[in-house]
């Protein structure tokens, strides 16, 4: 009799195991959701920053007089970049702070799960002549 009692699992054990598995599954599921969200966020930020930095370098390499003050809607015929599942938009703003010195702003914005996000870089360009 005693040997028979020690064989197999009880309903209580199965119940506890199911609860633990469910809990662990929940934790794992949450982990995947969080990781996926962070991955998308980081990827978008990297792409946006790289585009903003490339644009800033391009602006800073221009001759000072070419850097016309004002809000630039387009620089190279492409002010929108279509990434995977994401669309980035670029804004350029040049302000004449004083004669011979301009403030340059590059913003790359995108929509992330219904929220507006952006990367902003600001620097100055002086007239070397």
């Amino acid at each position: 009799m005693d040997n028979n009692r020690n064989k197999g699992v009880t309903y209580v054990e199965i119940l506890i195991a199911v609860i633990i598995i469910a809990y662990i599954s929940l934790v794992f599921g949450q982990m995947f959701v969080t990781n996926n969200f962070l991955l998308v966020q980081t990827t978008n930020q990297s792409r946006a920053y790289n585009w903003a930095a490339d644009t800033m370098e391009e602006l800073k390499s221009m001759h000072y007089p070419q850097l016309q003050a004002g809000l630039w809607t387009d620089m190279s015929g492409n002010d929108k970049y279509l990434g995977e599942n994401t669309q980035f938009t670029r804004y350029l703003n040049v302000i004449q702070v004083e004669p011979g010195l301009k403030e340059v702003e590059v913003i790359v914005g995108w929509d992330e799960l219904g929220e507006d996000r952006e990367v902003r870089i600001v620097s100055y360009v002086a007239d070397y002549s």
Binding site: I20, N93, V122, D127
Partner: protein, 412 residues
């Protein structure tokens, strides 16, 4: 036993899961910090550019905090802490960018930049090594410097140049260093934003004609009235010896060169200079109604050249043109010691330079710099407008162009 096994297995999985979550979050945080550091680098670079701007505008500051990076556009981005050291023409700039501020920095990066500053053109409408004579009704926009006495006749007006400066400086120590005529108008609208002064190393005759509010001084001993050894700005020899310089170029027959090597630009012709430098060793004469099209340099004469009948550069009436043209005499022994003689109704845009004397007739309007190492004689109704946007030419200090050149740029 099975339950214990399941629990242990689950514990192991939980630990693995949590480790992965922490790892991912840490990676994300490092990524964000990296972005902030990248943005801080651009703020530091803004500090470098601001320092270069200050240096280039004679506003050297050894240490300053640039707290407003980004404020002009979408709001403050960060602060740059900048220090600058000077060794002659070399400036070393150290700039650290902080996000969002130096006091509460979340990220920072530093840049070390070394720049060389080539002195710009002197800020004088006329810079004269000898005596200066300004006849009636002359207008000067800018600053005049003369080593020897300055004579100013009636109705002469001085107004500020584009940089807001107006002034008269004389290095002559005699009692008649500056002689001021009647109806002397010195910045009558009080528009000067820079210097507004008259300084003489000697006496000023009729100083009561200087308007109130003007900073004027007789027997001044400041460095502003130190004599200038050589008023030459452009390097004539460098232009003459350049392989790119055209010698005795005839512009397709519109310029004739005689047996003495003297060139004559023919009357009623349009001459396309096309950005070139043209050298005429035997001197050059522009006949009336020549139109100079495009920018360029005209160089004439030389130490071994000269003529009793001609000047090194002679510009007759109505020589016009929209181009920026520098007229440079390279020296020689010319008629009446006058290197450059400009007749009426001429409006050059550039530097007028000669080691000897220069004579300018009525109704000439000069937009540039007159650099005469001898005497300057300006007839009535001449206008001097200081302008530093001249056609490229080598400067006497050896630099090809004035301005700032980046020698090195590196992150510290």
């Amino acid at each position: 036993m099975a339950l214990v096994g399941v629990i242990l297995l689950m514990l192991v999985l939980i630990i693995i899961a949590q480790a992965m979550i922490m790892l991912t979050r840490r990676e994300a945080r490092v990524e964000v910090e990296g972005r902030l550091k990248d943005i801080a680098l651009y703020v530091a670079d803004a500090g470098v550019e601001k320092a270069i701007h200050n240096i280039n505008n004679d506003n050297f500051q050894p240490n300053f905090s640039f707290q407003h990076v980004g404020e002009e556009t979408g709001g403050k981005m960060g602060e740059a802490d900048v220090s600058v050291t000077q060794d002659g023409r070399i400036y070393t700039i150290n700039s650290t960018g902080y996000i969002p501020s130096q006091a509460e920095a979340e990220a920072s990066r530093s840049i070390n930049a070394v720049v060389e500053v080539s002195p710009g053109l002197p800020e004088f409408a006329a810079m004269v090594g000898g005596m200066s004579s300004f006849a009636a009704n002359i207008e000067v926009e800018g600053v005049v410097f003369s080593n020897e006495p300055i004579s100013i006749e009636t109705n002469v007006t001085f107004v500020p140049d584009e940089k807001g400066n107006v002034g008269i400086y004389c290095a002559d120590g005699s009692v008649l260093s500056i002689d001021i005529g009647t109806n002397f108008d010195f910045d009558p609208e009080n528009e000067a934003t820079g210097v507004r002064e008259i300084l003489a190393r000697g006496g000023i005759n009729n100083s009561h004609r200087i308007p109130d509010g003007v900073n004027w001084k007789e027997y001044d001993d400041s460095d502003k009235t130190d004599p200038i050894d050589d008023t030459q700005i452009l390097d004539a020899n460098a232009m003459i010896n350049s392989p790119d310089t055209y010698v005795n170029h005839d512009f397709g027959g519109d310029v004739t060169v005689d047996e003495n090597g003297r060139a004559t630009f023919e009357t009623n012709t349009d001459i396309h200079l096309n950005g070139g430098t043209y050298y005429y060793p035997g001197g050059v004469e522009f006949n009336s109604n020549v139109t100079l099209v495009g920018d360029g340099n005209i160089v004439a004469g030389g130490p071994d050249e000269g003529s009793d009948d001609h000047h090194a550069i002679e510009i007759n009436s109505n020589v016009k043109g929209d181009g920026k043209v520098n007229f440079v005499s390279a020296g020689g022994d010319w008629k009446d010691n006058i290197d450059i003689n400009i007749n009426s109704n001429v409006d050059p845009h550039g530097v007028i330079q000669c080691p000897g004397d220069a004579s300018i007739s009525s109704f000439v309007e000069i937009n540039g710099i007159v650099a005469v190492n001898g005497n300057l004689d300006a007839a009535s109704n001449v206008a001097f407008h200081y302008e530093d946007d001249i056609f490229d030419a080598p400067l006497v200090d050896g630099s090809a162009d004035a301005g700032v050149e980046m020698i090195s740029w590196r992150e510290m």
